[in-house]
Symmetry: C2
Subunit: 452 residues, 2 copies
């Protein structure tokens, strides 16, 4: 299949062909195009155009493209296809992708689509996979794999592989099982190529094989495969029976999604959204965090009101001018600390005791705080500010920075210990907490130091 | 090689063995352990302990572990090893990993280490790879690959592969070249297994092969391999000569590093840091962004000072109480918008015209803003605030939200157009800009509405 980068010109041309129902030109233009490019093209079409294209082209091109595109768009396209049309697409797909698509269908439609699939083995495999939680190894695995019985000879093994390989897109590993389908090991292609053809699989297989259990979590599978540089991993149940295999391309997707989720959480976006989602989805993903920020802001209003009277004293009014600065510093420091901890937790890179971490954060914040306070006092001079007031502002900022760093460090650790995703603590949540806390500390320290 | 999860107990035991120089126990405990686990263990040891271990264990275990660990730690360990010891480790590594390590050595040490490597071919390959920029395909690729001449018969091809496969950890693809080493295509293992052994490579190879040029950027290689689900890709020069290959495990690392970098930038951390880096590195990564925040904060001080006189009017003082709230909303909204755009740019998912994007952001912000302003006015009632003042605060917040969303949307797009990494605009930079802009708009809108 050839690969293209669809630019706007080609896309417009294709849109024109579609609106003119020029099927001949469409087929010509899209002949032998890689499914990943077809998927990219569909991303650039509206639902009707995409549906038209999918009905027009053969399922062996469109099936994998359908599996690649955004869930939301796919759902809408599938609504325009008949059960039979969907079944045709699914027949072309590996079981893992087929199940991903089926599981998005409404319950009663699922059955109608499955009953239209012609290959009984495919149906059976799909039904099995539908049972697993999508966030586990079972939800990631495909039934397509190459396995041989340990008692075969190398020659028979090659024959067996030939017939199995027909149904498997890529042969990653050849798994070795016993008569009860229990995973015994794997065959290396290298060993197979170099082995005497009369040797038995038993004699040459590698018993040391990595595997995951079918109910292990996605992220754990991703961690294992990326740590040990595995390109495929077999999936077994508690009886060690070989159920399927997971390939690295699906893990790349898990890693990417995980990173995007963390990134969006850090930015205060709760659902997985894309720039082209509709406004309502974007509002749903963004408004809750803004609401949290608003509550925090109202908290500061409440604190600041208590100090209204110092507005009467011109030399103290400056404290109010500095509140956004203090809040911003507290927020920024907290986000920095929490981001480092969240990544450390994700990479298993947090070593050393909590006490050491405490000392380190305090030391670090003291250095940063002193440097920033120095500049602040200098700036105070420029604003012709009372030196005592400047020193008070600088000093309390140092304390605010230390506290914000500690909150940013220990809140994610605490969440993680309680089994809550610590990434939730990197964004607006930690910023909002530190905003209020910062303003609170700032005014009470100033009150104590300046004696008002 | 067996795999373990080192818990603190085992690590303490190993530390004890090291301090007691109990080599026998150490070798026994660490026999046949996977290099990724040895790497994890080294992460938990101090430099002296790690050096001890590396000198003790055989290079075929430690070499890959050395390649896995953090650069900073490796640099320190390498200082404790002789040129000959380092050369022994490098001999065990694939050329890409060997070059990654060598390139970190000081110039004069490089030469001494290379001269101690015994295999001349390995030296030649390493020297070649040292020439490429580490952020390009050339910097990622390894020289180890399996290639066959198009004129060979399948039988000869199998023999050829047998001898080459000895030096290649994993056979991903068999590349087909002509007499001048120009890439012609690839052989599928499946086709090779199923082919008649008298057939020629020429007759069965697949001419349609993906490749990247040696000077293509890392990120472009990652995008291609992950889009097209490739597990290995050959690297060629402008003459189409086959130079090396890149495997998916290196790409997984690129994707992870890229995601971590973006995440850290969004959190206001400029260098790649880990929780256990020393304080100085952490200060260097964090202080510049805090300094930026401080400048922004001083900007708000400057703006707020201009409105000092309204502190004389009790009914207007509330405006000052709301500044942290306004700044926080502006900051949060900007980060949300920019994060969505930055991810969209990274995933090539930004479609539609700039004008549509403008309309959408305004619509979205209007909905969010109205919802939040409604709550704000209600809260104003609770604070016994003048209704006109509440409405003014709510109204200007809506405008601030719209402007902040537009800044968050269009600054990254602009940076991207100018070839600057837009991720830089997600963190403190956009927050700081929006903080000041928000406070500025807030007070001037209030001034206009309330006529002070």
């Amino acid at each position: 299949m050839s690969k293209v980068d669809f630019n706007n010109e080609i896309i417009d041309e294709i849109k024109n062909f579609i609106s003119a129902n020029n099927n001949k030109k469409l087929k010509e233009t899209l002949k032998d195009i890689h499914y990943a490019d077809i998927a990219e093209l569909i991303d650039n079409l509206n639902i009707d155009e995409a549906t038209y294209l999918i009905k027009l082209l053969k399922s062996d091109t469109t099936a994998d493209a359908l599996a690649e595109i955004d869930d939301e768009k796919r759902e809408k396209i599938l609504k325009n296809l008949s059960a039979k049309e969907i079944a045709e697409e699914l027949t072309e797909l590996d079981t893992d992708d087929a199940v991903d698509i089926i599981s998005e269908l409404p319950e009663e439609r699922k059955e109608r689509v499955i009953s239209q699939i012609e290959d009984d083995k495919h149906i059976e495999d799909i039904r099995e996979l539908l049972n697993y939680d999508e966030n586990t190894a079972g939800g990631l695995m495909a039934k397509e794999l190459v396995k041989v019985n340990e008692n075969l000879s190398v020659l028979k093994c090659l024959n067996e592989m030939r017939s199995q390989a027909e149904n498997v897109t890529r042969v990653h590993s050849i798994y070795v099982v016993d008569g009860k389908n229990k995973l015994k090991g794997r065959l290396s292609l290298k060993d197979l190529i170099t082995a005497n053809s009369k040797a038995k699989v038993k004699d040459i297989f590698i018993p040391n094989v990595d595997y995951v259990y079918v109910n292990e979590e996605n992220e754990e599978v991703a961690r294992k495969m990326s740590k040990y540089d595995l390109e495929a991993i077999p999936v077994i149940n508690s009886k060690k029976e070989l159920l399927g295999r997971i390939t690295i391309d699906d893990i790349v997707d898990v890693i990417k999604e995980e990173a995007e989720k963390d990134y969006q959480l850090a930015a205060g976006i709760s659902n997985d959204v894309e720039p082209d989602d509709n406004i309502l989805n974007l509002v749903k993903a963004r408004l809750p965090w803004l609401f949290l920020g608003l509550l925090g802001g109202l908290g500061s209003v409440f604190i600041l009101e208590k100090f209204e009277l110092i507005m009467e004293k011109p030399e103290l009014r400056n404290l109010f001018f500095y509140t956004p600065l203090i809040a911003a510093m507290a927020g920024n420091v907290g986000v920095q600390s929490s981001a480092i901890i969240v990544q450390g937790l994700a990479n298993n890179a947090l070593k050393g005791s909590l006490f050491n971490r405490l000392i380190k954060e305090i030391g670090l914040s003291l250095i940063n705080g002193l440097a920033l306070a120095f500049i602040l006092v200098l700036a105070g001079k420029l604003f012709d500010q009372n030196l005592i007031v400047s020193l008070t502002i600088g000093g309390s900022m140092i304390l605010v920075i230390i506290v914000a760093a500690l909150v940013g460090t220990f809140v994610p650790i605490l969440l993680d210990k309680r089994g809550i995703d610590p990434a939730i603590a990197t964004g607006p949540f930690i910023t909002t907490c530190n905003d209020i806390l910062g303003i609170f500390l700032f005014f009470y320290i100033a009150k104590f130091a300046l004696g008002f």
